[in-house]
């Protein structure tokens, strides 16, 4: 059929009549690939996605409000429940904010210990993400391999702070305890082991044609779009934008360490995947330097009152969370309870990118995209 005829047909009522209706598919809230109680209402034309509406709030616990009724110290553990696979980073964000509000100088050794735990947590988060993302795309084994390595990190956490998942690792001002005996050796063993394990995963995935077909060119989001949507973390860096809070707004001695920020090229699912895998290797580099250059000194500042009562004022502080820029905004009225707390949770904001990524793709790509965003619903809903 000639082009003119086709164009004429495009506007005719006949053409309208021939168009099939779209189908509405509820993706979640109970769905194995949504990583929690997230619900997406998909508009499908056959297998193609023409629209997506995200519906969140199934895990809303009112954490930001809850904090207003707790003292600064008592509020610390609840933030572990935001992103429960990267709990230490949440904790660091919150105590860092209070420290900034009170202008507390955290001792150098405490800062280094925090860096060690933070990076371990980042690796643990990325390992779990890698496993679940691969499982979403059907590669089951990677999940169990990832969990195996994550288990070691959990044991390290347990030995260090007594908890595995929701550690409540840092008090305001520093860290509670030094490394226990033998901890550093165990940690170094793990660090020596992990690069080989990562190579293993990359053999299974990065060089696998099926994996490449499922991830390359899927869910593309350009750097400009990503910035406009406020994405951050590996999701943003996958689109080739150089932004890492650790580099751009350094905190907690990160300026001492020499590491690279891995960047993607196309902004597709594969780039977001490869950025995270490379990030794990960079985290190992940071760990190595932190352990090697561990300064001596106290763990808590000299003079810190038992009751935290920051001066009135407001403060914003952000850390590079496992999912992106994790920011805390605190308003203090001079009492021992925060007047207002707001969390800029990276999962929530990254989720905005989903529509750009999935519309025009296929249903199966929705799964790949949700996986590549690395959302945790505890953090999306707060």
């Amino acid at each position: 059929m000639t082009t003119e005829l086709r164009e004429a047909a495009g506007t005719s009522p006949l053409r309208k009549a021939l168009e099939t209706t779209t189908m509405e598919l509820n993706f979640g809230p109970q769905h194995p690939a949504t990583h929690g109680v997230y619900r997406a209402v998909l508009q499908l034309d056959g297998e193609r996605v023409v629209g997506i509406e995200s519906i969140i709030g199934y895990l809303h616990r009112g954490i930001e409000k809850w904090v207003e009724y707790r003292t600064y110290t008592k509020a610390t553990p609840i933030f572990d429940r935001l992103d429960y696979v990267g709990a230490i980073l949440n904790c660091h964000g919150y105590v860092g904010t209070v420290e900034k509000l009170m202008k507390i100088e955290v001792p150098k050794r405490a800062q280094y210990i925090r860096v060690v735990l933070d990076e371990l947590q980042r690796i643990a988060n990325h390992l779990l993400w890698l496993g679940t993302h691969a499982l979403d795309l059907g590669a089951m084994t990677v999940l169990f391999y990832g969990l195996r390595e994550r288990e070691v990190i959990m044991d390290l956490f347990e030995a260090m702070v007594g908890q595995r998942l929701l550690q409540n690792a840092y008090p305001i001002g520093g860290v509670r305890l030094d490394f226990p005996r033998g901890w550093e050796r165990a940690c170094r063993n793990f660090m020596a082991e992990l690069p080989h394990r990562l190579d293993e995963y990359e053999t299974l995935l990065s060089s696998n044609r099926m994996w490449l077909q499922r991830t390359k060119g899927i869910g593309v989001i350009s750097g400009a779009e990503a910035v406009a949507l406020g994405l951050s973390g590996p999701t943003l860096r996958g689109s080739g934008v150089y932004f890492d809070v650790r580099k751009c707004i350094p905190y907690g001695s990160y300026e001492d360490f020499d590491f690279e920020v891995p960047l993607g090229e196309n902004g597709d699912v594969y780039d977001r995947y490869i950025v995270r895998v490379r990030e794990m290797r960079q985290s190992l580099r940071i760990l190595q330097q932190a352990l090697d250059g561990m300064p001596e000194g106290p763990l808590m500042p000299e003079k810190l009152s038992k009751i935290i009562r920051p001066p009135a004022g407001e403060v914003y502080f952000s850390v590079e969370g496992a999912k992106g820029q994790l920011g805390y905004y605190l308003v203090s009225d001079g009492t021992d309870k925060p007047w207002k707390c707001h969390v800029r949770s990276p999962s929530f904001i990254n989720l905005q990118g989903l529509e750009k990524m999935v519309v025009g793709g296929l249903v199966a790509d929705v799964v790949a995209n949700i996986g590549s965003l690395d959302i945790v619903l505890g953090e999306v809903d707060r």
Partner: protein
């Protein structure tokens, strides 16, 4: 009608069918066990090991659990179709075993031959293909009658997948038939006494393996039930014994595919490098027993390969899957068929 003719036409086939059904059901149940166990080892975990020694009673426990579970029929379902759909899935999967020769025929004293097959049909392979092509009904009906979107999606995908991959599968089997010059499975096995067809027909074997994985809906082609996308695919709404039927049908198909691959490509019960006659001279029972063992080993090796694939690969996307079927496998299978026909016509006259 005398007792003997009654036995010949009704009795013995019935006994054979009952024995075969029992053995196949047992094998299928333990295939699940082997798969879970092997996956456990592949994935640095243990797998089921609590029920009985090494978890060996696990399949029975699972079966009991599934029997005792409530049989839920969704409100939107079409109850009659929903109830009978599993039958359409499981019957073809089990009927296919009827034509497979598991061991060389046992020759007893007076020249009486007892073949190790329910019925050695002269159109064996064609019969098998036509019977297994009916399995798609169970899936389509399940998706349709559940009255829910995910099963519908799964069944539509599954039906197009199975219809697409039946073509390369049949074409690859056709080249075997060309080489052997017969549809009968025992003839095909006999034609491989010198060399298993997997070596000269390597292309056909490859196509067969890939299409067979697709036909049985397993990773990397497990889209119909791709759990991360379609929750459970066509059997999302099923529970209890009816779910178990689908589960059993899937694994029966896997075992069937292993047995067929063994017969068609791996030389069936033929023992490599040992001529049949020498063994027959030694002892007739020995021949059959060894043949059975060899068949079992080959089938289990193929099964192992299957599970290995499952532990290694991610899942294809729907359109990629169909593209592979039509754009890659079909041309290869056709090319292979032409090659084999040419060789058969010009070289092996």
């Amino acid at each position: 009608m005398t007792f003997e003719s009654l036995m010949t036409y009704v009795g013995w086939p019935l006994i054979k069918i009952v024995i075969l059904l029992g053995v196949v059901a047992f094998c299928v149940a333990y295939t699940v066990y082997i798969e879970r166990r092997l996956l456990g080892f592949f994935q640095s975990r243990v797998g089921p090991n609590r029920v009985g020694p090494f978890g060996l009673i696990q399949p029975i426990a699972d079966g009991l659990k599934l029997i005792l579970k409530e049989d839920i029929i969704p409100a939107n379902a079409q109850p009659f179709l929903f109830r009978i759909a599993p039958i359409f899935a499981i019957v073809p999967a089990f009927v296919g075993f009827a034509i497979i020769s598991f061991a060389p025929p046992l020759v007893t004293g007076a020249g009486v031959v007892h073949p190790f097959v329910v019925k050695d049909v002269n159109l064996g392979i064609l019969f098998l293909l036509s019977i297994t092509s009916l399995g798609v009904f169970g899936i389509v009906l399940a998706g349709w009658s559940s009255g829910s979107k995910y099963p519908l999606f799964g069944s539509l995908r599954s039906a197009s997948q199975m219809l697409s991959y039946e073509i390369p599968l049949t074409l690859s089997v056709l080249s075997v038939i060309l080489m052997a010059g017969s549809f009968r499975l025992s003839d095909i096995v006999d034609a491989q006494s010198k060399l298993p067809f997997a070596i000269p027909l390597i292309l056909a074997f490859g196509v067969y393996v890939i299409s067979a994985v697709a036909e049985t809906n397993r990773i990397p082609f497990d889209l119909p039930e791709g759990e991360s996308e379609l929750v459970g695919g066509f059997h999302t709404e099923y529970s209890g014994m009816r779910f178990a039927f689908y589960f059993l049908a899937e694994y029966a198909n896997v075992v069937l595919v292993c047995c067929v691959a063994t017969s068609l490509f791996l030389g069936g019960y033929k023992i490599p490098f040992v001529p049949y006659e020498t063994l027959l001279a030694a002892h007739p029972i020995l021949v059959s027993a060894l043949g059975l063992a060899v068949f079992g080993v080959k089938a289990v090796l193929f099964l192992y390969f299957y599970i290995w694939i499952r532990a290694t690969f991610p899942r294809y996307r729907y359109d990629q899957l169909l593209r592979i079927g039509w754009m890659v496998l079909l041309p290869i299978a056709l090319l292979n068929l032409f090659l084999v026909a040419g060789i058969k016509l010009w070289l092996l006259r």
